[in-house]
Amino acid sequence: MKINPTFSSMIREIRENSLKDREHSRRIVHWVEDHRLRSGAGKALVFILPTRGCSWALSKSGGCSICGYIYDNPQQPDFDIMLESFQKILEDTIESEWEYSLKLFTSGSFLDKKELPLEIQKKILKESSKYDQIKEIVLESRPEYVTDAVLQNIAENTEISKIEIAIGLESANDDILQNSINKGFFWDDFVKAAEKTREKGAKIKAYLLFKPPFLSEYDSIQDILESVSKIVELGVDTVSINAISIHRGTFLSQLFEKQMYRTPWLWSLLHLCREIKEQYPDLRLICDIVAGGSERGAHNCGTCDKDIIAILKEFTVTQDSDILDEEIKCSCKTEWKGFLFSEKISNSEMLNKY
């Protein structure tokens, strides 16, 4: 399969206009949060490494319709400063009584040599291996960078069973990847990367996107359910459902501003978690909500948002499905159903009442 050229050129136009305004922050961003490790509850130490950003986003394709992370990346990375602060933060942050999942994000692909030369990848992994508390290392990457050479480099510099490669698959449906996201890779590419990774003894995690542009919420729920089934069949044990948040300077943001897109309802996420956990009790299911409760993130009516977000967070950390069964009553639940229908039947063209 190939990309949709018309769609891609629309995205590229928006991208080129927005890239002009990008800032040049070279600061390494990090934070610690509660996290569910495979071994149990612990902490996640998350790094956003200031690389030059995602090569796909910078390419002639215009990148993904929904992603504006590129605007936060500096144009010229300084790897010396990056490594220096990385070392220091590890030293200052890691506490002996906790187990950690180290998340190395670049807003692009950690394994892309154009973003992080092999040498730098190596140094970061070596440094991380010094800490026994770090039980898991999560690297984000597009599947095309998951090559034998790169995996070999990882295996040489750290214990590879600790490694989890997180791939933003978004959907297992090629049509959606092509015509809604402009993802630039397809299901088969993901399968290949997953198989390679497993051969080398590392783990795979898939991100799924709820809900991409042009998909009604109804269709997107169906897509997530189907995608999860396909991913589970492949033997992947961790899926993260990422509820969309609208990044400025993106194709999606323009759609949203023209009132042709509504960010997903929290009810849908709650329903998805219940449904998937019931079907696949052993799957590690993560529900990630950015900008929850706001217009640009997943939200309900405003009254029940906090409660549902809290439940989904707690569930993600504990994986305890009983939490999801707690009954939440809110007058907007019927409205959500009415919306699901109207948006579906009208192909997202009827978001207003009249």
Binding site: E278, G302, E335, S346, E349, Y354
Partner: protein, 633 residues
């Protein structure tokens, strides 16, 4: 074969029924998910909201509420929403056009297209791909994107009229999404058939309480005593559904009764959006509605607002007076009279007084007199036509003040009627008041007729005025000789003009001459005999005629009510679309029409739809047979 067939038309609105079982389905509401209430709706979607692993079907099923005992005979009982385009039509042209064409290609390759819901964004109404779908038996359109132009009255009416003109009347239009029920009457009048109940789901803090013609916010609304509001806690969704169902029932009733236009005239005053729309429609698309609105009816028309002046029935009436009313050239005097509240006018006190005054001038005056009643909004009612619909059935608030538009319309039609008379005919004006005065002034200005005022000083029923009338008429006929053998009784005149109005100009004098006999008196139906055989009857309910097929044969080259039929014999009690080769476009629903095969009238029938739409339909019943030609074997 399409799934729907129209059972009656009123403008662009109609009652649609399932083709085989004739179960009324439209206008109606669709339940968006299967519920305990689903039976109250025209149809329901058999889906669960939200979708789950136990329900991964990509196709939505729509089930029609056809009674259990009829299901077996129905052409289909459920529809499928199998496909939709990927991109929204509001997105970039290049992207959406190609995508929509792909959608249409896929749609055309589906099985049983008559059971598939077709997705039509308003931007694609004029597209070639839509034209190709119209060649199939696609029966149901989901019309998308109307909300974008909902506040643009001109665009809204244009889009809907264009769409309705393009499609056959047996295709139903479903307008999905949350729509306020106060808009139903207008939208149905514009030809929308189905809505759904999604609005009733909007019960969050930002939701609605539907009551009367308003949507109230949920933190403040009037008290309601329905069962749903009486329970604790209140069931707002249940209440809202009830309101929607009540509203659609009201519109459906008006449609069956033939009073939809009046309901619309009342309802549009509650909405800023539609008040202007109706005016625009009446101005620009009057013909589209006129050509599909029955003129044979017996329901009262209340003409309250100025919109009534352009009620399609009334416009059609005026048009027929203009084109089909050709007065008797033997008449020597025209008498202009004011209208009366009581109908027919002859039964009113004022008109009894007028007739008394005329009689005093000599009984023979009637034989040479054209009585013309001047009125609004009908403009001109010849005495002979005072009992037909709508002349006998309209009511207006009498204030005696005429608007400029009323004066303009009325005088124009009056001038048209007067133009048929010889230049030397005398006009007696027995009307009084500013509006009438104004109209007569216009006639004086535009013509050279001699006009004698008999009621200018006093009201027309004042004894002085009545005496003036008697004296004037007496003087006018004093020197005239009346050729007795050429005199037609008022009954025959009435029948002739009614036939002209109903079947086409020139038919009356062929059908009814001096050799006929009329039995019966109002309020009974009239029976018309010729040579001992009843050839026609005149309904006292509608004021219109019904004639035998063999009599209809006599007016075949003059009538405008023909349906050319493909077979030489009518079987059964309906005329179906495949049998229709061509229908006169002047045919209106409810009209008595003549089924013609090779220049022979083989039956009379009552039209269900207009002639225009008969020619568009490819299946379903067009008319109900009344009388078949008796064939001797």
């Amino acid at each position: 074969m399409r799934f729907f067939q129209p059972l009656s038309q009123y403008g662009l609105a109609r009652i649609l029924a399932e083709t085989r079982t004739r179960t009324h389905l439209s206008p109606g509401i669709i339940d968006i998910e299967k519920s305990s209430n689903s039976d109250d709706y025209a149809a329901f979607f058999d889906i669960s909201l939200p979708p789950s692993y136990s329900n991964t079907d990509k196709i939505l099923n729509l089930h029609w509420n056809i009674p259990e005992e009829k299901k077996e005979r129905a052409l289909a009982t459920s529809f499928l929403y199998s496909l939709q385009p990927f991109y929204s039509s509001s997105i970039d042209d290049e992207l959406s056009k190609a995508d929509y064409n792909t959608y249409v290609e896929n749609f055309l390759s589906l099985q049983d297209i008559h059971k598939q819901i077709y997705f039509l964004p308003i931007d694609f109404i004029e597209s070639e791909s839509f034209d190709s779908v119209l060649k199939t038996d696609m029966s149901l359109i989901a019309l998308i994107g109307l909300d974008k132009i909902f506040n643009n009255q001109r665009k809204l009416s244009e889009v809907l009229v264009n769409l309705k003109e393009k499609i056959s009347p047996d295709i139903a239009i479903y307008l999905p999404g949350p729509i306020a029920p106060s808009n139903y009457s207008f939208l149905i009048y514009m030809g929308i058939d189905f809505f759904d109940n999604s609005l009733s789901y909007y019960t969050s803090e930002n939701g609605y309480f539907i009551l009367g013609d308003r949507l109230y916010p949920l933190d403040k609304y009037p008290k309601c005593y329905c069962q749903y509001c009486s329970q604790d806690p209140k069931d707002i969704q249940g209440h809202n559904e009830l309101m929607m169902k009540n509203e659609i029932a009201k519109v459906k009733y008006a449609l069956e009764e033939g009073t939809l236009r009046e309901l619309v005239e009342q309802d549009i005053h509650k909405s800023v959006t539609f008040a202007a729309s109706l005016k625009h429609l009446d101005k620009k698309y009057s013909k589209v509605f006129r050509n599909r609105t029955p003129i044979i009816s017996s329901t009262k028309i209340k003409c309250i607002g100025e919109e009534s002046l352009h009620n399609p029935v009334i416009s059609e009436y005026r048009e027929r007076i203009r084109t089909r009313y050709k007065p008797s050239l033997k008449d020597k005097i025209i008498l202009l009279l004011p209208c009366s509240a009581k109908k027919p006018y002859s039964f009113s006190r004022s008109h009894m007084l007028f007739r008394g005054a005329i009689k005093k001038a000599g009984k023979q005056v009637f034989h040479t007199l054209s009585e013309i009643i001047v009125t609004s909004p009908l403009s001109v009612v010849p005495r002979e036509l005072e009992s037909i619909y709508p002349a006998r059935f309209y009511d207006i608030p009498v204030a005696g003040v005429w608007s400029d538009e009323e004066i303009e319309l009325t005088s124009r039609l009056l001038l048209d009627v007067l133009s048929h008379y010889p230049k030397d005919i005398k006009i007696v004006n027995h009307m009084h008041g500013h509006g009438y005065q104004h109209i007569v002034d216009i006639v004086r200005k535009e013509t050279s007729f001699e006009i004698i005022d008999t009621s200018s000083e006093n009201p027309p029923t004042n004894p002085n005025s009545l005496n003036n009338l008697t004296d004037t008429l007496y003087n006018l006929i004093e020197n005239q000789t009346i050729e007795k053998d050429k005199i037609l009784s008022s009954k025959i005149r009435r029948l002739q003009f009614t036939a002209d109005f109903q079947y086409g100009q020139g038919t009356g004098s062929i059908l009814f001459s001096k050799d006929i006999k009329v039995k019966g008196k109002y309020p009974r139906h009239l029976q018309i005999f010729r040579g001992g055989e009843q050839i026609a009857s005149l309904s006292s309910e509608t004021g219109y005629l019904s004639i035998l097929p063999k009599i209809a044969q006599e007016i075949l080259d003059k009538t405008l009510n023909k349906l050319e039929f493909g077979v030489d014999q009518v079987l059964g009690s309906n005329i179906y679309a495949p049998g229709c080769i061509n229908a006169d476009t002047t045919i209106l629903p409810n009209d008595e029409i003549f089924i013609v095969h090779e220049n022979k009238v083989i039956a009379t029938a009552k039209a269900l739809v207009s002639g225009i739409d008969m020619n568009k339909m490819t299946s379903g019943s067009l008319a109900e047979v009344r009388k078949k030609l008796k064939v001797r074997k």
